[in-house]
Amino acid sequence: MSIRLLSTLSAALIAVTAATPQASAQLVFDSTRLELNAAAADEVISGTFHFRNKGFADEEIIEVESTCGCLSATMDKQTYAPGEEGRLRAVFKLTNFVGIHEKLLIVRTANPKAPPIDLVVQINVPEIFRSSPEIHEWTLEGEADPRRFSVEILGDAPINITDVSATRTNVDFKLHTLEPGRRYEVEVTPHDTSRVTMGAIRLITDSDIPKFQRMMLFFSISPETKKSGGS
């Protein structure tokens, strides 16, 4: 009877073991989050994730998926022996990014029972050019009052606005320089609010950084305004 009981328990133990994730291979990252601080003029920034195979079998990384075309990853090798350390280098192309952005790298291994590992890459790019509000909105058939955008230059170097134009001919606009290279206001006044319109004021600057050389301020005349647009 005890032999039968033992064999029954053994079979149950085998079933449980077979159903659980394979514990023989396991990649463990020192940290699954990487924070990178870029300068405004940087085009590319990179950082490294460190990990170790803490299992008892080789672990093969078969795919590193990125949630953004701006973020790519390279590794020193693909298969890691038990106890072996590895490095995954994350490369972020900054292009137009400004502010704080988070993107994911999803690491998949050849172990079918191991879940994907999410690695978070956060980049911090200083804001150099700040304008507000995001959009000025007039109500259709409402008052065609003048509204102002404020523009601030936040970086170390001043940036001068050298040209202002509008994508629509039914508005008047005027640039006010409050502090050269640092603070401006752009005043926009529609001729009337009799028709639905969406447009932009285009600003050209003398910034050395391409992403700050051309900026836009948006306005609209709509049946209903999404945001308050007072001057």
């Binding site: 149950a12 292009t95 051309r214």
Partner: protein
């Protein structure tokens, strides 16, 4: 023979109970079926685009520029996170006169670029949707 049958049944039942318990309790147990996510309010499928607008939409490709240049939906314009400001600067006069909805697509379900571009464009009074399953959905529907 009967004893053998009984013992085998006991082993089988014990194994099944252990396996089922693991399936219910284990955090990484796979699902038994594929779940279809319901459409969000601003998501559309190709069928909806055809039914609602006769296919007459402005496609916006949120993938990286290299992917757009390789292939894109006919008539699509490229507007991605990497070059958003400079691309919008050049595209704006097209958008400001648009008389049809914008539908944004990117590379896959995991790609969040469509949602990011939709959020950025959302400040403007435009009718904006996201294509469910993105570029792969269009390719599948239009493959020979």
């Amino acid at each position: 023979m009967l004893r053998l049958l009984i013992e085998s049944s006991i082993l089988l039942v014990a194994s099944a109970v252990a396996t089922l318990a693991t399936f219910w309790l284990h955090p990484y147990a796979p699902s038994l079926y594929v779940q279809m996510d319901p459409l969000r309010e601003d998501e559309v499928t190709l069928d909806i685009i055809e039914e609602r607008w006769g296919g007459n939409v402005q496609w916006v490709d949120a993938r990286i520029s290299e992917q757009f240049e390789t292939a894109h939906i006919p008539g699509a314009v490229s507007l991605n996170e990497q070059h958003y400001d400079e691309q919008l600067f050049d595209l704006f006069e097209t958008f400001q006169s648009l008389d049809r909805p914008i539908v944004i697509y990117c590379n896959s379900e995991a790609c969040k670029a469509s949602r990011t571009i939709a959020d950025k464009l959302g400040v403007l009074p435009l009718e904006i949707y996201i294509l469910k399953r993105g570029w792969p959905a269009w390719r599948k529907a239009n493959s020979p």
